[in-house]
């Protein structure tokens, strides 16, 4: 059976800032969607199906597309809602990829967003663990102790960072360098949230220690923002533009939740930095994409890294080098915009994190690099293939997509 090639033919972002009090969810999303229609040269009538998602706890609304999607061009169209936490944007894009690849829908609009300022993000994150925390209180766990070890993804990241540093030889200076690299890249990206041109590792090292080894400067901001992309078949894409980017493959992989099993049981996901499932997802995605040697064939990477160490850790887990090599590769300058394998040219999640949208923005940013439409943040080298990643849950969910300037069949 011939594979149906899936092309990215339009990308749109809303403005990304910490608080968008001038628009509601539907209007914020519309900014991204209307920009996407414009970029693709398409109208809502050209869309065959819509895939949407966000992280519902953050805004305190259940299924906002019920009252929002009519304003995004979904009127009387097929629509599906996909949500998987931090990986939501990736999962939405993956579903849109499958919708086109299934042969059932030619042109699919994918929408992912988060309007964190509408809700309480700390509560949103804590609700990840609330059911299990409540069970632990009942069984005699001091609430103060539980609070001190952190809520949701944020809390687990510090353990992951410590473990990763131990495993890889990554130092706190490397973390500072990652932040500086990303925030400087973000300054070149008009859609990014936290722009800090000229930020140095030394500046980052002066920020307050939140929980070892993570300093304030190593952490993403909370962002209001939306992202949209239009996927279509190879044939239709060529009618719309000269150089579409193709999503060659998508894969996700799930592990048991880290740090805490159900209601205080033990969990077999013992080292949050191992991320064996990320390696598996990457392996599956590369296999489907026909990539034999990702280190040579991948030209640009957008790992999902809301915390500084994750850019290095996921670089390794995406099989772009051996374990423990990423810090030295960072030092070599290879990850810079003008490097051999630029990483997070967009500025990454550490600069912009509208949670539900973030994993899709990894994909759209790689697509823009391939299409040569990344503006000032366009990497210096020629880009043929790139990898886009998403991470979430209790560090137990990973999504990986491989993009290319040529379709899978050739």
């Amino acid at each position: 059976m011939a594979h149906i090639d899936v092309a990215v033919t339009g990308v749109g972002y809303s403005k990304h800032v910490s608080k968008r009090r001038d628009v509601n969810i539907a209007e914020l999303v519309w900014e991204a969607v209307s920009n996407c229609y414009e970029d693709a040269g398409l109208k809502p009538k050209d869309i065959d199906a819509v895939v949407t998602g966000n992280m519902p706890a953050f805004e305190g609304v259940n299924m906002p597309e019920l009252w929002g999607a009519g304003h995004w061009g979904a009127y009387h169209k097929p629509l599906i809602r996909i949500t998987t936490g931090g990986t939501t944007g990736g999962s939405v894009a993956h579903a849109a990829y499958y919708a086109v690849a299934s042969g059932l829908y030619d042109t699919v609009l994918a929408i992912a967003f988060e309007k964190q300022s509408d809700g309480n993000s700390t509560m949103g994150l804590n609700t990840v663990a609330l059911a299990d925390a409540a069970a632990q209180f009942q069984q005699g766990v001091d609430p103060g102790f539980l609070a001190s070890f952190g809520g949701g993804a944020v809390g687990i990241a510090v353990y992951q960072a410590a473990s990763y540093m131990k495993r890889s030889g990554c130092t706190t200076h490397h973390l500072d360098k990652v932040s500086a690299l990303c925030r400087n890249n973000a300054a070149l990206n008009p859609w990014s949230h936290l722009k800090q041109p000229g930020l140095t590792p030394e500046d980052v090292a002066k920020t307050v220690l939140m929980q070892y080894p993570i300093r304030f400067g190593h952490v993403c901001p909370a962002t209001d923002g939306a992202c949209a992309m239009i996927l279509t078949t190879h044939e239709k894409a060529l009618k719309l533009q000269n150089k579409p980017a193709y999503i060659l493959s998508c894969a996700s992989c799930s592990d048991e939740a880290a740090l805490m099993g159900i209601s205080g049981s033990g969990t077999t996901n013992m080292d949050p930095c191992a991320q064996e499932h990320c390696k598996l997802a990457a392996k599956w995605a590369y296999e489907l994409a026909g990539i034999k040697d990702p280190r040579r064939e991948i030209d640009v990477a957008e790992p999902y890294a809301p915390f500084a160490h994750q850019m290095l850790m996921f670089y390794e887990r995406l099989l772009l080098c051996e374990e423990g090599e990423a810090p030295a590769i960072l030092d070599s300058g290879s990850m810079n915009l003008d490097g051999e394998l630029p990483v997070c040219p967009s500025g990454g999640v550490i600069s912009t994190n509208a949670i539900g949208a973030s994993a899709m923005e990894r994909i759209t940013e790689v697509a823009l690099q391939i299409m040569g439409k990344a503006g000032e943040r366009q990497v210096k080298k020629e880009v043929h293939k790139g990898v886009a990643h998403g991470w979430g849950g209790a560090v137990n969910l990973n999504v990986v997509a491989v993009l290319s300037d040529t379709p899978r069949r050739s």
Binding site: D22, A131, Q139, D142, F149, V208, L209, T267, T268, P272
Partner: protein, 161 residues
């Protein structure tokens, strides 16, 4: 596409997500209560999976291989640190940029007790933050009054062999 016109002013509308309205069910609590009872005899009871042999401590009613762990086994009170952190300004209050580290840092570690295949989160005592490392051997330190709470196993100290 025509530019939408947005008003410059908006009104915030307050609402809440009333969290108290869920009442979750867990088989695991019944299993863990047996383990908590055993604390009073200074024993750590884990549950072994008949499918793949993994030992869950504290016990868990289902395994990742889709079997149901059903054999009680004793887990050792020594273990290995698999991951760690220590608290800074973040602890308790969420993110506060202005504050420096709050008081004496609390060292929090993931411990894999010997004879089990899982991680339990504990605090590490009798050690300084700079002394902790992944792979460090630790020993459970029981509280003076063991009450059969999960907190009874919340504290480890470096193993001195």
């Amino acid at each position: 596409m025509a530019e939408m016109e947005y008003k410059k002013e908006t009104r915030s509308v307050e609402g809440s997500w009333p969290m108290e309205h869920w009442s979750w069910k867990f088989e695991s609590i019944a299993l863990i209560s047996k383990t908590r009872e055993a604390f009073k005899e200074k024993k750590l009871l884990g549950l072994k999976c008949p499918g793949c042999g993994l030992v869950y401590f504290p016990p868990k009613p289902y395994c990742r291989c889709m079997s149901e762990p059903d054999e009680w086994v004793e887990v050792k009170q020594q273990g290995t640190i698999t991951t760690y952190t220590f608290t800074g300004a973040w602890a308790y209050e969420g993110i506060k940029e202005e504050e420096g580290p709050a008081g004496e840092p609390l060292i929090i570690v993931g411990v894999n007790f010997d004879g089990s295949d899982t991680l339990t989160v504990c605090t590490l005592g009798e050690a300084k933050p700079e002394e902790v490392f992944v792979g460090m051997r630790v020993q459970l330190k029981w509280p003076e009054n063991i009450e059969g709470r999960l907190d009874d196993i919340a504290h480890v100290v470096p193993l001195r062999e």
